[in-house]
Symmetry: C4
Subunit: 280 residues, 4 copies
């Protein structure tokens, strides 16, 4: 039995994608929309992302020669157009991520379609891109959300965890995420009893997953947020892993969009999974 079944181009053993969910304060605004708090501490904490974190990341991606995949809520584009321009100028991929970071299981199909169109218009105006993939806010999906993505001719989805290599989900190439490779669950302070993990520990954990995915021909798709991983110690810690992976001849450095194309062409008849809810 050989369970390392996915084949990457040119004999590579692992795909590596650096993805950025450029959320800033937008998810907080969405969550608190019905009763905006008078306190601004959380807002300011999150604004560290669009003020500083994003520019440090872009600086380092240039230094490391990385094209990353950015998923950007439309409201971030409208509030911080300079940052989005810089992302586009850097040659990075830009994908959809809602307008106000709306969780798809908290809105209906019409609302989702309206918010995605609004987000696409904002991004297109600033960055000149129209054909994009999609990552759902909070990594949640529904049956009707996939239908909306079809109506909008979205290129792929990158929101689910059902495999650690690309697969088909409701007719879309699914470029899978996973909690293990998310920065927020390790670093975000969400009130007691949480406390941020040591970046050395987190990056060691990521390195272990990278080594394991190389063994099983998986996709190493790490997700970072500028307001979280833009902090100095975290960037420096992940830099060590990136340097190691940059020297590894088994790595295919790529983007979500490229992987979706590759999957569509190479595996049109394989890895189709039914992902909807069925009790029996």
């Amino acid at each position: 039995m050989n369970t390392a079944q996915y084949r990457w181009p040119n004999g590579k053993k692992v795909g590596v994608i650096v993805s950025i969910d450029f959320d800033g304060e937008v998810p907080y605004l969405w969550r608190t929309r019905k009763s905006p708090p008078v306190g601004i501490g959380d807002l300011e904490q999150r604004r560290f992302g669009p003020r500083q974190g994003i520019y440090r990341m872009l600086e380092l991606f240039k230094l490391w020669e990385i094209r990353a995949s950015f998923f950007i809520p439309g409201l971030i584009a409208d509030k911080y157009p300079n940052a989005v321009e810089k992302i586009a100028e850097g040659g990075h991929e830009i994908g959809l991520h809602g307008y106000r970071h709306e969780r798809v299981d908290e809105i209906d199909a019409a609302e989702m379609e309206e918010t995605l169109q609004r987000a696409r218009a904002s991004i297109e105006r600033i960055a000149g891109q129209r054909d994009m993939g999609y990552r759902s806010p909070s990594w949640e999906m529904t049956d009707y959300a996939f239908q909306v993505l079809h109506r909008l001719d979205v290129l792929y989805d990158s929101s689910l965890m059902g495999s650690d290599h690309p697969y088909w989900a409701e007719g879309f190439p699914e470029i899978p995420v996973q909690w293990l490779l998310d920065d927020a669950i390790f670093y975000r302070y969400s009130g007691p009893p949480s406390s941020p993990r040591n970046p050395g520990d987190v990056v060691d954990l990521w390195r272990r997953e990278f080594e394991g995915l190389k063994r099983w021909n998986g996709l190493f798709l790490v997700t970072m947020h500028p307001w979280i991983s833009g902090r100095a110690s975290r960037l420096q810690a992940v830099e060590v892993l990136i340097e190691q992976m940059k020297q590894d001849p088994d790595v295919w450095w790529t983007t979500c969009g490229e992987v979706a194309d590759y999957h569509r062409k190479t595996y049109a008849d394989e890895f189709h999974e039914k992902v909807s809810y069925d009790i029996e």
Copy 2:
């Protein structure tokens, strides 16, 4: 005072069992049965188990020459018969684990009996096994649950933590579990403020417990879930511990079923414990 009182066969100092609770999405379906959510993120995360994790584990058990003890909800057998066939072909033990992973303290005796009969029928049809042991979903037990196990002629129970060697619980050999040797409580991301532990840390903790159990003649019974420990970095981490234990002459590599047989024959008159609830 010598507190290392249990004797293993052939002068071995510690029993080692690798047990797999093959749950996948079934516990989630049970928990959400009254109001199924529209979101499918959790489902997909859990389906990683029956899609990929289980096959990787079987591959490694073959490589490591391990017979494991699998506890399988009937619904998993009905949804993923191919995986269960492969488990049986690999020579592993299969045990009962509810039909929909029903917690026994949330159902009554009649419902428990019906669901176990249904699960046994599914497993028997696919894997050809009828005489089986039992591990309760969520490691919870009740007085009436033991009575159901007696009526169904179940071979043993493996759900409680009252000792770290086998003992008698309500007339059954109890093959004890413990939280320390469960993967889920260390690795599962259950929303903020949880965050998965580093596999290096977890396996070091397991190794320490292994060394301690060798000193006190205990049972090292580790429990893993394919959707959790099937992730690449976690499998590679536990592999290091397995390699160490494989070279240790003091280890009896065994299964829950074998240990239950051994205990029944060797300790018929010892280690009887009253396990029911009594206030005074």
Copy 3:
């Protein structure tokens, strides 16, 4: 300014006490008394203490030549008289700890007095001791609880954290505990999102506190529970620290009772603190 102000006998730099809160399933019975659950998983987990953990601890205390301070709910004495006899035979100190591990802020003075008298009668019948110190269940105290202790001629209190050397609290020598030196908060699995810490990490943390307390002439009073620290890996980890401390000439190995006597004789006029609740 010299803040290392407490003086230990014979020029020692740090007092070391191993204290055991021998609770077993009793706190759980108290907490669930109004609606006893049908599930017995938690009970069995806690019974590991009186079945196995306590005997391992006594074996190791004999091996290490340690006299420990045990705080024992009366109900534990009534349910497990053999264990309490063994503790007394081992020359250890025994102190009061409620009858059913009743939190003093959840009962009134009359109830507290009745339960302590009942507990004292049980312990006296089994272990022959009548003059005892007190440690409150859950390390909570109240003004009226101190009055009850006075009426019962209790020797000292060991429940508060207001200093890291002995002090006076409402007329009693206070032998202070602290969370840092408790096993339960590091090891107990209390449902998601908790997960037990690595014993190597916990004991390193305790060792650091030991080194620091030596610098400031403090009291290193560690508290362990048989159902928690009786697990094999945890006992072996703490054994390493005990071996280190046993070889340290700056340590006064002692018990809560001895320290209370010493404090009463040496510091009758110093370290008096007002500990009651006052808003301004």
Copy 4:
């Protein structure tokens, strides 16, 4: 793109401030003011700060030759005037921190103004200081809180996280804090499932942030509480980092007040940020 844009005096690469939120039991009194509990365990735990922790810190600051920035609720000054005198005598900065540690989003502008005036009067009476900066209790701010600070001629604010170098917030130099460099979220035991982190781990994390901030010309502003970091092992752990930073020629050892002055003079026209709540 060079994102290390802030310039420190004399070519230094990083500003280092040790700040102390001298809270003791006052936040607890504020939080429980409407229904004071009968239990005194939490109070005593917190009183370790004004009884012991504060004096150890002052001793070490003298040893290390550090001027720290203390933020002191007025009620602490009234209850523990000796400690506040010692702080002033040590040449440390003293700043405002509410009277009863009132969260500004839980009181209105009038109440905030009254409590700050009362706090200032207490501190002036004891320590002779009247011109002070401000750190908000619980690091929360509101629009009207800034207006109150203006009316009281407060020198600066040190409560927000919107950057890791000084910036302008509503007309004040903002000397930014961040969770990563707070002791409480790592060490405080707030009931299950929390557990205090190993000081070695915490200080390693701080050291990493220090190294990173040196790269990006940031402000390393660590915050400690006497009742938390005054514990022996924690003080000894942070001492190692302080020794390292003391030998680093790239460090500007400073205080919040000095940095606010520097920022006001050097960057009057730069780094102005809108920090209030705006949805779109």
